[in-house]
């Protein structure tokens, strides 16, 4: 990705090792990566700097992923329209359905390989191949 076309991703994930694992893959693929440890921190970051894609974990302290997405979708259009990729260890149809209802665009069940993550991040952020 050229410097001026770099897509910005906000990684919303409470586990430090997972943030490092995803960040390494995304930065290696040319994304600009910012991070938040929970939904509240993510909302605060979005108010100052909107992004092209949100990658969101479900189980997080203070504000979980689904509550965050529901809150996100009620914000101003510039923020509410940001695509959301969920990454979660939960894999039941009910969990995936609940994420869709909350407003997630896509759902990946962990473990998510680094290549798989980058592929979906590219598609959802509207990267030019």
């Amino acid at each position: 990705m050229a410097e001026d076309q770099k897509k910005r991703v906000l990684l919303v994930e409470d586990a430090g090792l997972v943030r490092m694992y995803y960040r390494e893959a995304l930065q290696g693929a040319g994304f600009d990566v910012d991070e938040a440890l929970n939904g509240i921190e993510a909302l605060e970051k979005l108010l100052t700097a909107p992004v092209d894609l949100l990658i969101v974990d479900v189980n997080m302290p203070q504000m979980d992923g689904l509550t965050f997405i529901r809150t996100l979708r009620r914000q101003t259009p510039a923020i509410a329209s940001i695509p959301v990729l969920i990454t979660s260890t939960e894999s039941s149809p009910q969990d995936i359905h609940a994420a869709r209802i909350a407003g997630a665009n896509f759902y990946l069940t962990k473990p998510v390989g680094q290549e798989q993550l980058v592929l979906h991040a590219r598609i959802l952020s509207g990267c030019v191949a």
């Binding site: 586990a15 430090g16 090792l17 943030r19 390494e24 962990k110 473990p111 390989g113």
Partner: protein
Amino acid sequence: MPADVPPVTGEEFRVLCEFLYRRTGMVFTEAKRYYVQRRVTERLQATGFTSYAHYFARLRADSGDEIEQLINAFTVNETYFYREEHQLRCLTSDLLRERIRTKPRGRPIRIWSVPCSTGEEPYSIAIWLLENWPEVDAYDIDIVGSDIDTQVLDAARAGVFGKRALMHLPPRLVNQYLEPLDGEQWRIVEDLRQSVSFSTVNLVEMAETRAHGRFDVIFCRNVLIYFDDASRRLAAENLYENLEPGGFICLGHAESMSRISPLFDVCRYADAIVYQRPMEGARG
């Protein structure tokens, strides 16, 4: 040796070794006399005592943190990143695979590095998992480093290392997981520092080991060799209690649990020999 601190007499040496044994389980024989003398001399100089009798009286009174300082002086802290890499390979190729096969959903993977010295081993485990375990995002991973020496634990938390500690870590990983402070030192990046927790533990004190809960894998390398048979067995029994049923313990390459305790099963994998706490009900 400085002139103001006389050499220890036979009786003083015996008292000191007895004290260290009771406190730590470490055994020092006559062959280690110089080693013991050098360290206790340092402590006398640091505290201003010129007689062993007075110094021992202070130890017995347990005033201040001198017992802790003395124990710190006697622990060995030589280690480096990716030491005994074959065990790390075994961790991701066999041990974790085995553990998650029977682990209930939502339960964390817990790994204990004990003694962890200045943190090279627990940070190595974290880096190794990030680089070599594709399921690293699918589990809450709890890496704990523990040591009896409080000074090395402070250093471990700070996460600052020199060239020597990093000599076996490929440069790509040094750049990725550490930030340069100057030409000689690097610091573990914050996310990685936050991903490892550190605590004090004495392996022969059951109350202290129990407080750490149960782990899936324990790395306990090159410490039991400093214990005598009785302390070694006690430490092994404590470590057994710290393992989940089916959990594994990795010792140093020259150590064998079979000589210490019959509680564990020996497991031979392609990269390492490790010891396993049998699953519940597997033994009569």
